[in-house]
Amino acid sequence: MYDWLLFLHLISAFLLGVTVVIYSAVAIGVATPGRTLFVADRCWDVGGLGTLIFGIWLALNLDQYDFFDGWILGALALWFVATGLGQSIQRRMNAPEGEGDETRALASLHWIRTIVIIGLLVLMIWKPGA
C-alpha cells in the first residue's frame, strides 16, 4: 500500500514539476505554443490535487509519521501558497494581452512559485523534526 501511495504521490509531484519547467520557459521569454500551456495548466491541476490527496493518505498510512508533524504541516502550508500562486498565474495568463509590468509580475509570481515547490521538495526529503 505504502509503495503505491508513494508512486502516485511522486507522479503527482512530477506533474507539478512539468508545470514549473514549462512556465520557466514562459518566464524567460520563450514563445510557448498554446497547447504547451494547456498541458502545463492541466498538469498543475491534477498534480496539485494528487500531491495533496496521496500525501495526506501516506502520512496517515505510516505509523512513524503523524499528521501534525511540523514538516507535514509546513508542507501543507507551502502547498496552499503554491496553489494560490498557481491560480493567480493561470488567471493572469488567461487575461487579455498584458503590458510589460503585467509580464514582469507574471514572471515574479512564477519564480516565487518555483521556490515554494523546491521548498516542498526539500521538506519531503529532509523531513525536519521527523
Partner: protein, 143 residues
C-alpha cells in the same frame, strides 16, 4: 524495504534531492519538447532537447550514481530489480534522446514537419513512458 526507505540516513538526502530535482526537470523538459514538436515548432523542440533535456538527464544520472554509491547498491549481488530497471530505462532513454535530438535538428534545419517530426515525437514519447516505469520502480522497489 518500504519502512527502510522512509527512514533513510540523513547523508543520502542531498544526493536524493539532486537526483529528484534533475529527474523532475528532465520529465518537464521532455513534455515541453513533445508539446512544442507536436505543435510544429521543430526549432523550439530541437533547442529544448539539446539545451535542457540532455543536460538534465546528466544531472539526474550523475546524482543517481552518487546515491547508489552512498547506498552501496552496486555492491549487492544480485542487483535489486528496481536498480536494474532504473539503469536500463535511464541509459536506454539517453540513446533515444540523442537520436531524437538529431532528428529534430535536421527537421528544424530543413523546415520539415513530416517523417522526422514523427520520429522525434515517437522517440521522445518512448522516453517519457520509460521514465514513468522508472518512477514506478524507484517508488515501489519490486524485487
Amino acid at each position: 524495504m518500504s519502512v527502510l526507505a522512509a527512514i533513510r540516513p540523513d547523508d543520502w538526502n542531498l544526493a536524493l534531492f539532486v537526483h529528484l530535482l534533475g529527474a523532475m526537470v528532465l520529465v518537464g523538459t521532455v513534455v515541453f519538447a513533445i508539446t512544442s514538436t507536436s505543435a510544429g515548432n521543430m526549432r523550439l523542440g530541437y533547442r529544448t532537447l539539446l539545451w535542457a533535456v540532455i543536460p538534465s538527464w546528466f544531472v539526474m544520472r550523475i546524482a543517481a550514481q552518487w546515491l547508489a554509491s552512498k547506498e552501496k547498491l552496486d555492491d549487492l549481488d544480485p542487483e535489486p530489480a528496481w536498480v536494474g530497471i532504473g539503469y536500463s530505462t535511464s541509459e536506454g532513454s539517453l540513446l533515444l534522446l540523442i537520436a531524437a535530438t538529431i532528428c529534430a535538428g535536421i527537421a528544424a534545419r530543413r523546415g520539415s514537419t513530416g517523417g522526422l517530426r514523427t520520429a522525434t515525437l515517437v522517440l521522445v514519447a518512448i522516453s517519457l513512458v520509460a521514465y514513468g516505469v522508472a518512477i514506478w520502480a524507484m517508488s515501489t522497489k519490486p524485487t
